[in-house]
Symmetry: none
Subunit: 401 residues, 2 copies
Amino acid sequence: MFPLEEIKKISQASPSKIVMLVIDGLGGLPDTKTGKTELETAHTPYLDELAKKGICGLIDPVSPGITPGSGPGHLALFGYDPLRFTIGRGVLEALGIGFELKKNDVAARGNFCTVDKKGLITDRRAGRITTDKCIELCTLLARIKLPEVDSFVLPVKEHRFAFVLRGSKLHAELNDTDPQKTGAAPYPAKHAKQIAKHTADIVNNFIKQASGILARHHPANMILLRGFSKLPDIPSMSDIYKLTPAAIAGYPMYKGLAKLVGMEILSAEGGIQEEIRVLTDCYNKHDFFYVHVKHADSAGEDGDFDRKVKVIEQVDSALPKLLNLKPDVIIITGDHSTPTTLKGHSWHPVPLLLYSQYCRADNAQAFSESACLSGGLGRIPATDIMPLAMANALKLTKFGA
Amino acid sequence: MFPLEEIKKISQASPSKIVMLVIDGLGGLPDTKTGKTELETAHTPYLDELAKKGICGLIDPVSPGITPGSGPGHLALFGYDPLRFTIGRGVLEALGIGFELKKNDVAARGNFCTVDKKGLITDRRAGRITTDKCIELCTLLARIKLPEVDSFVLPVKEHRFAFVLRGSKLHAELNDTDPQKTGAAPYPAKHAKQIAKHTADIVNNFIKQASGILARHHPANMILLRGFSKLPDIPSMSDIYKLTPAAIAGYPMYKGLAKLVGMEILSAEGGIQEEIRVLTDCYNKHDFFYVHVKHADSAGEDGDFDRKVKVIEQVDSALPKLLNLKPDVIIITGDHSTPTTLKGHSWHPVPLLLYSQYCRADNAQAFSESACLSGGLGRIPATDIMPLAMANALKLTKFGA
């Protein structure tokens, strides 16, 4: 990919506007009966019309064959090499519940688990306790006092919680305490670098107190922590692209990812129609909008083909209002594929549609996996999208004389 | 891209011949009425016939979305990573007027500018003085004496000149003296590395003397210097490819770029017909020919669609004489796109045609942006062209056993 350091040198602010519409988990696989994917099954007259006027292609979010998590998938869309900028599991867990991580916080993903009398793990997920039970236990653990630092224990879902330490001199170079198998005792936190020894001591202090508190809450009588991490040091989109970017999203994780790269967060919890309303209201205040549509991915993960088709059709119906704003550049794509047949994220490349006055339209007659395959953009890494969007918005000067 | 160091190991000299015809600014955008680009509008029976026999594709000179200057655009065509081998603005300015830079020369791009009585810049371009006035002032500045070094002040156009220092112990790690805004005083030259302090002192001595000489030449009463640079350290094409390469070009910039990579320069100032005549005359003396057609780019920069069409048709008419020579490999492409609608270089990928006996012909029936889109070469970085040309000329042995 073209280096961010170089993009920064040639990017320039201008009044032109870019809208990037991310349909989470957009790409799919054909239904065995019809031979058509979710996107190909959906009735999408407006998307197809835009595909005719625009230029299409397929993106690899990370690399061919690699299934991205939401973090790498989105970072790539925003132009950041997902192999260079990595987001720790702990940080992602905290972002996912909307916790406002500060620069020096250390976050980890936590599991409640079951240990026997010898302290050996018998169930790494404590029989998947209810989320209500998780909330109750998190409240108990939140009372733990640690010298010099604050700790946060935040319920996520079932046996999962987020653990955050806040204070000075905290470091995240710690191993997981989760041995990833039953029959073994949890590992103590141990520092991978000397500088993190102090943090390891604090974590072990916390685990000891937690173990005492949880003793009478079998099966959730112990905790496992993994993915200790801090917020990554990412240059902001305004620094690199000279943009004033905004995110329109409903789910905490995506707001958190957008915040990581310096976007202003505009909440819209009511689906695509409300998101477009927010976009319209704030259209004069920003020159880049990331609009996130969650439910295509959720439907894919649930294996619900028809529901995913409907979500795509809802996006199509909302498109005219977006087009009315006449953005200079429109990008429509996804952060990864979520085929309903696989009930999860997949490695398949994701359809991409770019529209601008200067896009050199191709022969794509519809927005679909198969039409995008012969599109004019070819098959490109997702990290190429931002340079292309910037170029089409005439926000990049020449590279070299 | 495949590394030059590895190409060097597998390249071998052979009698086969490669002709690379570079139509500057070849790629375009559709005319809004006809929906056809400049290349698609041009009547090009010989190019189309060659496209049928050959294999087509699209190249990204630098990276998707990135608009290349002539320097990076050409380096990529010659197989050099334009991010690894960069050409300073000062060097390019000197090359552009045909100045023979030596290895340790330090070159900068100069502007005549206007300063007020306090020494603050009121016009960075001195009201765009005439080229005649520029020549007069350069002659005056050429009289400046500096201890131990020679200086050259070479008129370019209007307020622009090239400045070159020649001597021992010169270094180019200097900031621009141009603050890039009015109301500020020019910066003194300052060394970014200690080793360049001596050069900074010399430059400041020159500027002081220039300021005295120019005082009575308002509005051109001061100079600004930027892009201090030396010739980049580039391995020659004969070293890497075992070729005896020659450049057939009319404009100084392109001769300069070709010289940078070790080509012999064969001047031809009378357009494509004369270039093909020179090619024919010298055909036995070299095994690689870079032929540069400037006027497609000039027409594009002027926004003159019809003139660009005509230049392409002139190239087409000259093609039979080139084909008569029966080169083993013919490459026809551009160093970047220059759509007339944008009146400048652009980021759009550039049509590529490769013909050889062994090219595995595709289904492209014409030489055009749209036909190249589904061509057999796909969409590739421009740096892949030289390995493909070398392979088709049977000048590359196996990589690995």
